[in-house]
């Protein structure tokens, strides 16, 4: 685990715990249902993978640059499925599978023989399997919204174009959002249905990019509670 990430996760969880202590004092009732199933879609932000010059050795201490490159992983749509289990009315755990299809692009500039700017691209299939905790706070009266916070970690699998290379890695995330309950009832198979909006900061660490790579995401999902 990256030293830069650990404090972020721990501090976030610490804040959540304090919030929960006060929220827990407000209610001790059981959750409407224990199990949640959700499907959703959204947007996964891009990230810069950095610049890299194509340097040649020269007769001086300064390298001779053949050309320069700047590589980015583009933003993309994402689809996800999620299952959750409510431990209490406030605490829950959840797991998620998400797929996205970002484009990796390298912009080439300053070639010594070819004036202009060139771009080389490839498509990546990215699969994420993650899990963590969810903490629900008290509902905002009048708005019909219930805020929550999440944090967790997961596994990343990237398949390069034509599936000729698989790269693996991990991610950490923190985030939050709101849910809006469309209906709930004490009996029946489906106890509640709600809409959920998530905003997350995902920190990926994949072989493609040896550094930690922060990427934001926004998703909306339909949640069924059983």
């Amino acid at each position: 685990m990256s030293p830069r990430i650990v404090p972020l996760v721990l501090i976030t969880l610490g804040v959540l715990t304090l919030e929960v202590a006060s929220a827990a004092a407000q209610t001790t009732s059981e959750p409407v249902g224990r199990f949640e199933v959700a499907v959703g879609a959204g947007w996964l932000g891009g990230a810069s993978l950095g610049e890299q010059p194509a340097d040649l050795r020269s007769a001086s201490a300064t390298p001779f640059q053949l050309f320069d490159t700047d590589t980015d992983l583009g933003s993309s749509g994402t689809f996800e499925a999620r299952v959750g289990f409510a431990l209490t009315r406030i605490f829950g755990i959840e797991g998620r599978a998400a797929i996205s299809n970002p484009e990796l692009s390298t912009v080439i500039t300053n070639d010594v023989e070819a004036p202009g700017t060139f771009t080389a691209v490839e498509s990546i299939d990215q699969y994420v399997f993650d899990g963590g905790i969810v903490v629900r706070f008290g509902a905002w009266d009048g708005l019909g919204l219930t805020p929550f916070a999440t944090a967790g970690l997961g596994y990343v699998r990237q398949l390069h174009e034509e599936h000729e290379l698989v790269e693996e890695g991990h991610l950490f995330y923190v985030g939050g959002g709101v849910t809006h309950t469309m209906f709930s009832r004490p009996q029946g198979l489906i106890r509640a249905a709600s809409l959920r909006a998530d905003v997350r900061l995902n920190v990926f660490s994949v072989e493609l990019d040896e550094d930690n790579r922060p990427q934001g995401s926004v998703t909306g999902s339909l949640v069924l509670t059983f």
Binding site: L49, Q52, P53, A54, D55, L56, R57, S58, A59, P63, F64, Q65, L66, F67, T69, T71, L104, S105, T106, I108, D111, V112, E113, A114, F118, T119, A120, V121, E122, H160, E161, E162, E164, L165, E167, E207, L208, D209, E210
Partner: protein
Amino acid sequence: MSRHRVSVWIAIAVIVLGLPGTAYPYSHLTIDTTTGSRPIRWTVPSVRWYANDRTVLGLSASQFQSEIAQAFSTWEGVPTASIAFQFAGFTTAVPFDDDGLSVFGFDSQPDMDRVLGATSFIVDVVTGAIVESDVFFNAIFAWSATPAGDAARFDLRSVATHEIGHFLGLGHSAIGETEPRPDGGRRVLGSGAVMFPISLGRGIVTDRTLQPDDIAGASDLYPDDDFRSDTGIITGRVRLNGAPVKGANVIAFNPQTGSLISNFSNADGTFRIAGLTPGPHVIRVEPIDDADIDSFLEPQGVNVNFQVTFYDKLIVAPVGGASTSFDVTVQSK
């Protein structure tokens, strides 16, 4: 010609010894054997070499032997290649004699006033196995074994590292940029491989250190147990107006590591670049325009009349395999 203009290294041995083979568009030297074209390579587990005991100004025989031995160690240190050498002793035998000994030594060749060193081979024309290889260093130049280099002399270990690349069977790499000199020679602006055919100049010791292109070439020729499984290959074809392009220098650039590894396209336009770190690569195709074509390969049929071209897709080198072949279309100049 002035000695100051002398800066060209060539591996002329195949021509000098009149072998039937020629250098084909590939980073390895090849020969036409009775069973087809083959790369030439050593097949013995440890290659024995001798040092000629001739001295030149400023260098003793033991200094000469020490520098050559350290250049051999550089190639032995390639982690993905399996190559071993053994110093067999000093000798009065001279390079380029067909005597069964692989000899490194100085020789004065005033008529080769642009050649710092050269490598010759005797090759089994059935198997492509190297039987003997000699390397000479042109004694008309001033040489240095100074650790930091001598601004007035050529660094012996750097040139030896280059020539030992030939000794192994490697051809010249075209990763480099030059500009013409007023006197007709070429000045190196940048070099991306020890096996680039033109020296960076006097006092420069950077060619003591192998570059990714050198390491890939040696490893492809003498792979260790893990080389094939740990690295990837990119394959493709270069075309101009629908016709194959021979002799295009195709460079694979890894935007994560910054490494540059190249190879030439064959007569049918196909190319193969091995020893790549798995991952996406930028593909740059350029004509041979930074040294004489025959420094690299048989000039007949080589097309240099096209523009530098970047392929519009990143090409992924897979782990332990080859990419799906793709076509790069270049435009005429």
